[in-house]
Amino acid sequence: MSTDVQVGVGLRPPHYAGVLEDPPALDFFEVISENFLGLRTGGGGRPVEVLERVRALRPVRLHGVSMNLGSVDPLSEHYLARLRVLADRIDPECVSDHVCWTGEGGENLHDLLPLPWTEEALDHLVPRVHHAQERLGRRLVLENPSSYVGYLHSTMTEWEFLGELARRTGAGLLLDVNNVFVTARNHGFAPVWYLDGLPDAAVAQFHLSGHDDSGPLRIDTHDRRVCREVWELFRHAVRRFGPRPTLVEWDDRLPPFPVLLEEASRARAILEESSDAVLALAG
């Protein structure tokens, strides 16, 4: 097993007891940050007490869905402060969120809403990412969300936008390979263009998950196994960027934990192929 290969799964409440009782052979867990922030009045409650026990067993990554980086609303200093407290308490391997907006006018839609890929959006986002990184005292890692809506006034591709954002902010990219595939299918481009257009040094982590392909639009549901095309795209991504910490996400219709471990093993095998190939070349 290559030592630079790291694979984890998204940890959800039904897993806690089993994971604490019999820790699986995984390199890390990722959790949704907001599930550990408690109420707006403070404290993280029982979930944080459990997360501290998990953290004692394995490294943890905090993955947020509500930083609202792309919104025209002011960034929430209260949110950033609470996230900082959580991060200082858990000492995560990384803190990530999404390149999107989640609310406007003080209302949170609790969704990862797409930005137009314009200079205006980029100029808006860059200082906000800097500010968040400063408040959190660490580098952010930013994920590409799946999208169903695109904007005609975009002036660059999504991957050009993300590459430029990473360059200007120093943030890493969390490349969700399933999201690349879903977005490509929904907007009619080849997913490999996306991967080949990203700067390789910026990619810090991979995500993998399943999606619903039963309708005219692909929907990012996180409720099933990773599909064949996404595994193939993942293989391409690993060849392109090298092995990176890789996470299998599953949020709805959760299967028995061994199914998640099977998916994680499959990801590990692909990462190890690449890692071994690099070692062979170096040797």
């Binding site: 109420l39 979930p47 639009l217």
Partner: protein, 271 residues
């Protein structure tokens, strides 16, 4: 019509269409519902024309917007259903859906965390026809919210006992009410009530909902101790609490027993 809306105009219009109770299809078609809050008036700068769509069934502009619009409602509905499982079961699918819709109109999410969304669902229910028809469900909602709140509050940890320091004036002592406990005023005994049972019995009083690590519990308080603990939770000094207890007819022995029990449970401690 603006072909390239600013980011602010785009987001304002998107928020309007995605949260619109009519759905994206009817909202973009120009329909309006009378009596909606001002945030449901369509912004002057429309962004519909800047959204890309395919001339293929299911992949048009409105189809794409509808993915987000339906996801908005279903995600928030699911969060409230998880927090209020007994209320959802008691109301049934249709009435609970109406309650969620009313709640999103009157109290849209303003927090990064979905845990705050249901903060006053009991208040929304009280103002709905269902809350008038079945008033005990307002108590049930308050009970379920308090349970969620103690679960998400803390962290738990040992509190100081009630022992006085040297030279400390007990009358001025201000005790703290634990973050892991909530006092809930009730009019019905819904603690163990299930929808398939007969109507719950009326019962005026206060419940303490509490948590210790992974265990949550509820405990009824008699009228006088309930009033005293309520005053304590609002910051009254020990001297004021003792006066109140005497007014309510509690003997000093009864007061001592009550405070000892609350401290043992971890509901109160030194501030």
């Amino acid at each position: 019509m603006q072909s390239s809306p600013s980011l602010a105009d785009l987001q304002r219009w998107m928020r309007w269409v995605l949260t619109n109770p009519l759905g994206a299809d009817r909202a973009t078609g120009g329909e309006q519902l009378p009596g909606l809050p001002e945030r449901f008036v369509e912004p002057e700068a429309r962004a519909l024309a800047c959204i890309a769509g395919d001339p293929v069934h299911g992949r048009g502009v409105v189809d794409r917007l509808s993915v987000y619009a339906s996801g908005y409602f279903s995600r928030l509905h699911e969060a409230l259903e998880l927090e209020y499982p007994r209320l959802a079961a008691a109301l049934g699918a249709e009435e609970f859906r109406d309650l969620v819709a009313a709640h999103l109109l009157s109290a849209p999410s303003s927090s990064p965390s979905l845990a705050d969304l249901g903060e006053d669902l009991a208040g929304t229910l009280r103002a709905c026809p269902a809350g008038t028809r079945w008033p005990w469900l307002v108590d049930l909602a308050a009970l379920e919210r308090a349970t969620a709140e103690v679960w998400l509050s803390g962290p738990s940890g040992p509190r100081g006992g009630l022992t006085l320091g040297e030279g400390e004036d007990p009358g001025l002592l201000r005790l703290a009410f634990s973050a892991l406990a909530r006092l809930v005023r009730m009019s019905w005994d819904v603690v163990d009530w299930r929808p398939e049972q007969a109507l719950p019995a009326p019962r005026q009083g206060r419940l303490v909902v509490w948590r210790v690590e992974a265990t949550t519990g509820v405990e009824w308080l008699d009228h006088a101790p309930g009033e005293v603990l309520d005053a304590l939770s609002r910051g009254a000094h020990l001297g004021e609490l003792c006066e109140l207890a005497a007014t309510l007819g509690m003997s000093s022995e009864h007061v001592g027993t009550a405070f000892g029990h609350w401290a043992e449970r971890g509901w109160v401690g030194r501030g």
